[in-house]
Symmetry: D2
Subunit: 346 residues, 4 copies
Amino acid sequence: MIVVMKAGCSQDDIGAVVNRIKKLGLKEHISQGVERTIIGVLGQNLLDFQDTLQLLPGVEEIIPVSKPYKLASREFHPRNTVVMVNGVAIGGDEIVIMAGPCAVESEKQLLDTARQVKADGANILRGGAFKPSTSPYHFRGLGKKGLEMLAKTREETGMPVITEVMTPNDVELVANYVDILQIGARNMQNFILLDEVGKTRKPVMLKRGLSSTIQEWLLAAEYILAQGNEQLILCERGIRTFETSTRNTMDISAIPIIKKVSHLPIIADPSHATGKWYLVAPLALAAIAAGADGLMIEVHPNPALALKDGAQSLTFESFRQFMSQAIPIAQATGRKLATSGTKVKS
Amino acid sequence: MIVVMKAGCSQDDIGAVVNRIKKLGLKEHISQGVERTIIGVLGQNLLDFQDTLQLLPGVEEIIPVSKPYKLASREFHPRNTVVMVNGVAIGGDEIVIMAGPCAVESEKQLLDTARQVKADGANILRGGAFKPSTSPYHFRGLGKKGLEMLAKTREETGMPVITEVMTPNDVELVANYVDILQIGARNMQNFILLDEVGKTRKPVMLKRGLSSTIQEWLLAAEYILAQGNEQLILCERGIRTFETSTRNTMDISAIPIIKKVSHLPIIADPSHATGKWYLVAPLALAAIAAGADGLMIEVHPNPALALKDGAQSLTFESFRQFMSQAIPIAQATGRKLATSGTKVKS
Amino acid sequence: MIVVMKAGCSQDDIGAVVNRIKKLGLKEHISQGVERTIIGVLGQNLLDFQDTLQLLPGVEEIIPVSKPYKLASREFHPRNTVVMVNGVAIGGDEIVIMAGPCAVESEKQLLDTARQVKADGANILRGGAFKPSTSPYHFRGLGKKGLEMLAKTREETGMPVITEVMTPNDVELVANYVDILQIGARNMQNFILLDEVGKTRKPVMLKRGLSSTIQEWLLAAEYILAQGNEQLILCERGIRTFETSTRNTMDISAIPIIKKVSHLPIIADPSHATGKWYLVAPLALAAIAAGADGLMIEVHPNPALALKDGAQSLTFESFRQFMSQAIPIAQATGRKLATSGTKVKS
Amino acid sequence: MIVVMKAGCSQDDIGAVVNRIKKLGLKEHISQGVERTIIGVLGQNLLDFQDTLQLLPGVEEIIPVSKPYKLASREFHPRNTVVMVNGVAIGGDEIVIMAGPCAVESEKQLLDTARQVKADGANILRGGAFKPSTSPYHFRGLGKKGLEMLAKTREETGMPVITEVMTPNDVELVANYVDILQIGARNMQNFILLDEVGKTRKPVMLKRGLSSTIQEWLLAAEYILAQGNEQLILCERGIRTFETSTRNTMDISAIPIIKKVSHLPIIADPSHATGKWYLVAPLALAAIAAGADGLMIEVHPNPALALKDGAQSLTFESFRQFMSQAIPIAQATGRKLATSGTKVKS
């Protein structure tokens, strides 16, 4: 951490900062420049002392130097984390496709979709049982019934399933039914929920918050890792910007940045990022080209009748077409689409 | 709701849209322009049908017309809501000051602060027992002990207290100890928590989410109102923008907009909005001038030693100075600072 | 255009709106709903009348329906525009690579770079002679000397050249030396400059402004098109968001959106979008996968000694490596990299 | 400037950075921490060397410490700048009101407005002759005719006038007619225009760009100051955010920040910031309370017939009412509204 002193500060000001640093059990290192003095601060947990030093007379600014996350960093953990989900490896050489309806609506809707996306190469089935909704008057999911349908469909198809858990009380219930616990964008900083999924040993997928920096996202990941759960996947799903043509703006650069600074797998969700079905395929292909470890894509038997987010769902036909484009793009990046779990159970 | 058809769409496309509208039990109203046709849709719960219509051939765009919130709107409820908290009226003619430390740290810290801010005119005591923290390695509050200190300090000073509740399971506990339940910015769309505080009959203060539009904020309010809890206060505390000089950007325009479109009281929290103590007074005064019903301000006996957010806390001295400025500004707007609960118990 | 009336407005209010519409020479179309009345407005140049109608009593909101741009729209001009630059086709089947240094620094720097990027497959040479700089104390380019170096290097290598023009007075000068006039992001709404390049018959590349919506970008394009210059290329180079890991956030979704709503070619500039050389290749590949018609990439013989933007420049080695990745990605999308002008003049 | 080395970098990496620093004629200062080494860099024009150092092996990050602007800083120039405009002092104890129509439309419109706003206490007349417009199909101002009307109205009323200059070629022309040259938000980084107005000795008002940080704004100011023109006023007019209820989000915190870090006067333009007339008064009052040195407010004899921005214009009646609220707010802050130039010439 660096303490930047004001241009005209006194020697007493500098002395007082040095004294405070020593009292806190830290070490100081003074650089007296022509214009101003800067004081390096060495020691542990420096971020805890930022405010304290900030408020001393003559201090202009405190600049943190260390990254505030550790377990999520590649520095701490150089090798890629590979999350294993019933035989599907996420974060390895192969690119994993999660597909399915936004919300679980019925056994038939889910099973039909699962069979179809599996036949076309999807590895994992998605489907929301508990649905966050901006308005209290909209569909909020089938709840436990939806979980049962997910489990049953897994039974029938052999596909691992992923679904969102919205509140700490539901973690155990959801974990009993599905293979990956999803933390939604709006809950990225629901810290008690993060603690709770961190205490399980289930794989977790953590979506980036709409207004979260990459650093805040990794700090949210740190909550889960700090509880001992290392089966963690990150998911970029768009950030909030001034542009209104899309629901959110998919931050494609987050993919190579995460690969550089963290060891965690990263996938992209172009359905939620854009809110428009015709943008899903181009952005999904872009995510693969940028190095994503996987994709989460909404598919519905009849989007126009979907109870939720039909406008961003692919039809069976458009999903199949997308998959035929994804294969060569994956190959062009030197990877390939994962094949685990994609053959229909005989 | 309005369906805008594409410029070159066919009569069949228009017919199909009309049929769908009728099947949904709604009424249509066609305007055939030179360039394009637009179709008005009349009926209930129109937003539920937006996606369905969006996906029909020849449809360019769906434009919602009705506001998606109702209970929170001034149209539905023309008169100002006034929330009564132990004799303090929030949303009436008088401006209410909530003040206190970011986090409850000790009995002495809390009581000293309470006595001081009360002597200087604060009406309600704030203090965090459960603290959200971006990093898992930082102070997260004293929890239940903090609640007990809040209750004890209320006993001693007679000031009503407000504190944040972070998760549904804690709602009952927190409600037993304090007078106002605060929903923090990061939890504005924690819908299950909103349901839960909506089921209590305690006053709730709902902070605006960092990346939430005013409309989404009112929809979050709608969750609480829809559960029957009308004792609701809104709090503007800054939104996330590209500017890095301040922690967030306080959206001063939210204050007159909320007064116009909603009946709910609105207060401002310049401490969290800016993250810098020297910006708190000017922004607090600005909020009063813009029509806010109150303020929430962080005050600490010794900000440089605060366990949390010291850099944004006023000292006793600077709080007193601020209050001396607030009085004439309030008068200049034709209002005055509330005096309920500000006299020290004899 | 649609006039949404307030819920409780009077028949007189509605009558006054209708009268105003008629006086303006427009036609009205009334839909009387249960909750509120909406009035469709039909006619030409409707946007001119938005404010006028907005201010009438009883009016809640005016909703524009038509797109405000015409010449730039695919509706008006269904077939892709292909811009021809000395034998290089931009916007056709092939993907065009523009590469070169951020700023022209010397004859040798430019010529070395041109030869190298051409040998590796670049089609067009970029290089700034007039450089916008956030600070007045930084390098602002070689000016006319830089233009002469560009012309000389074109002579030597046969590569068409592109450079930025920053002010109306320089348009003629710059047009005399180079093949494509670039309008920088900061000048996207420099309307007099847009008029001026619109009056030339030189190809123009219009970068998206940092805080411009796609619609505003197309309206800026409309300025150029309205002057009769149809040789226009768009360039996505990142928008300003709250994220600080990258200089800007490349809006990858802009690429398929532009392809859908406009006929103009669109290329991407990942160097300026990210500001970091190690993000250039992944984002460039992503842009190709998303459907971009080309790329603009900064390359420097020795980025660490560059006078401008070294941190975002590729070395010769990393550019070559990138090109070897771009070829299969382009093929995987069913296109290929353009080869025009890439063979060294014998 | 500080060079942060990577955690695992070698002594050779550190040695190479030190060598480069010395070669550049700068001094280094090494702090070897437990986790990582940081190297302070001392000398002149450090920002020029940021990229160079960034690219050396083992370097994690470069952190600038000095502010990149100098002439605009309060450190360099501790006393408030007061800009004198025909007897009106901007930046002194009194608060200055600029008012008038968005665009000059006719002699009568301008004169009527000038007389009225002067009678109600405005000090300076605003009115656009050259109007930036997002669309090429909208009104772009009366040009030179508009300037003549401004000069004539000044003659009649004695009010100083301010108008926007959009392009370097017009600077001399506009300067011949008006008292303050306004640089619009879209031109904040039109560097050649900044140079040009910097070369005049006319007062300049520099609006903040829609997506400009406060630091970039002060760097734009630096361009003007560096040319020797110190008669400079800043104007906050809203930044672009995700919120769509207002045209832009007025960054009220910019006012106290500018007062702290710079000596330049700062005024606020709530008309452009919000785009809605009913938000103008509350935000204008807020700006005064936050410490603004003045306001720019749009007033039109008949907003519903305005050629531009009618929706954000006050009527004569609402301007008068606003002024009656502004007087006590100004007094409550210990200042008062300026009276120079507000008495009608006899």
